[in-house]
Amino acid sequence: MTVKTLTINDQLITASAEQTILDAAKEAEIKIPTLCHLEGVSDVGACRLCLVEIEGSSKLQPACVTQVQEGMVIQTETEKLKEYRRMAVELLFAEGNHVCAVCVVNGNCQLQNVAIKVGMDHSRFPYKFPKREVDLSHRLFGMDHNRCILCTRCVRVCDEIEGAHVWDVANRGGQSFIVSGINQPWGEVDACTSCGKCVDACPTGAIFRQGSTASEMTCDRSTLEFLHRARTKKEWTR
């Protein structure tokens, strides 16, 4: 294993050659906001929140999929990046129907956390108020498409860790939505093992446990760690 030295935000750090910028930064306690990234499953680089500036590169690069290189000079908090991150979050809020006050994960929501972090207190873009559905056909869980940000963490966790591939993305562009089975109600999809991994993977309140209320929700770190363990150590039972 070779070791690389690089600079992030004027701080000299070391990382192993296989690490991504995101991992290396995390080790050095430099926080880069993410939404679609989830420990233990593959990265897609879709939310664009982890974009960083790399000296010598004209394009912004997503930290979650960019490997470290010797002598890289990286900035993660420039004015431009901050502005773009805020806009990205605004676009996400304007695109769906995100009403924190009535959401089951209010206070434990990654989208909410990111919004606070990037200083997004209101959206400069008008809300689209799309008509989206709520699927309560599953015995234990529910899917509220209004709160979905299409990060595809549920799709990846179900495919890569549970191996059930209940979820996928249907349609495209602004019409995209997370689909279960052949666009069946979730409860009717035979492939679903009711493992609940997608519930744990969801960064917002889109996929939730039925019957839970906002006050019952806690930020359960152990589930995320479980996912990570299942993936890396191949230990699939809790």
Binding site: N97, V99, F129, K131, R132, E133, V134, D135, L136, S137, D144, N146, D159, A164, H165, V166, W167, D168, V169, A170, N171, R172, V179, S180, G181, I182, N183, Q184, P185, E188, V189, A191
Partner: protein, 174 residues
């Protein structure tokens, strides 16, 4: 905000006996020819649509099982590509090209005229299932812009008036 509980009719799970249907044979042959390879999904969906006219959920399920693909994956692919249709189309189809060359030469007016005449939006079918109105993003027939495809036949240098004429002929056939 309007939130509505998913209230779909229970899926039609009473499996129709598919064997005698000749059209399923077409799909079977195509899949066999492609050695049931998962990467041939798009080819197979093309053939399926050719045989059935559109992609019904039951048929998508049939393809998914044969290729051992997740159902959601097949649905995802079928809805990603614009040429796949999950709804049956009308007796006649009229596709107005909205490529740049056609647009610059007024194809938007042709589409608007037809939409008004038929009382439907692009992408819809008239209630009597006679005519489907669609738009395309460049047919590559820019030299003869604006182009309209009537039942698979590309015609060039169209005007709202003569496009309307063709539609009228279809309507009179009924």
């Amino acid at each position: 905000m309007e939130t509505r509980t998913l209230n779909k009719k229970p899926q039609n799970h009473q499996k129709i006996d598919k064997r005698p249907d000749k059209r399923f044979k077409v799909i079977d042959i195509t899949m066999k020819r492609n050695h049931y390879r998962q990467d041939a999904l798009i080819e197979i969906l093309h053939k399926t649509q050719e045989a059935f006219g559109y992609l019904e959920p039951d048929i998508l399920e049939y393809v998914a099982h044969a290729l051992k693909l997740p159902l959601s994956r097949v649905y995802g692919v079928a809805t990603f590509y614009h040429l796949f249709s999950l709804k049956p189309s009308g007796e006649h189809t009229c596709i107005v090209c909205l490529g740049t060359a056609c647009y610059v030469k007024g194809s938007d007016r042709i589409l608007a005229t037809l939409q008004q005449e038929l009382g439907i939006q692009s992408g819809e079918t008239t209630s009597d299932n006679q005519i489907s109105l669609l738009s395309a993003r460049c047919l590559g027939a820019c030299g003869i812009a604006p182009a309209v495809v009537f039942d698979g036949e590309v015609t060039g240098k169209q005007t709202p008036e003569n496009a309307l004429k063709t539609i009228k002929i279809w309507q009179e056939e009924e």
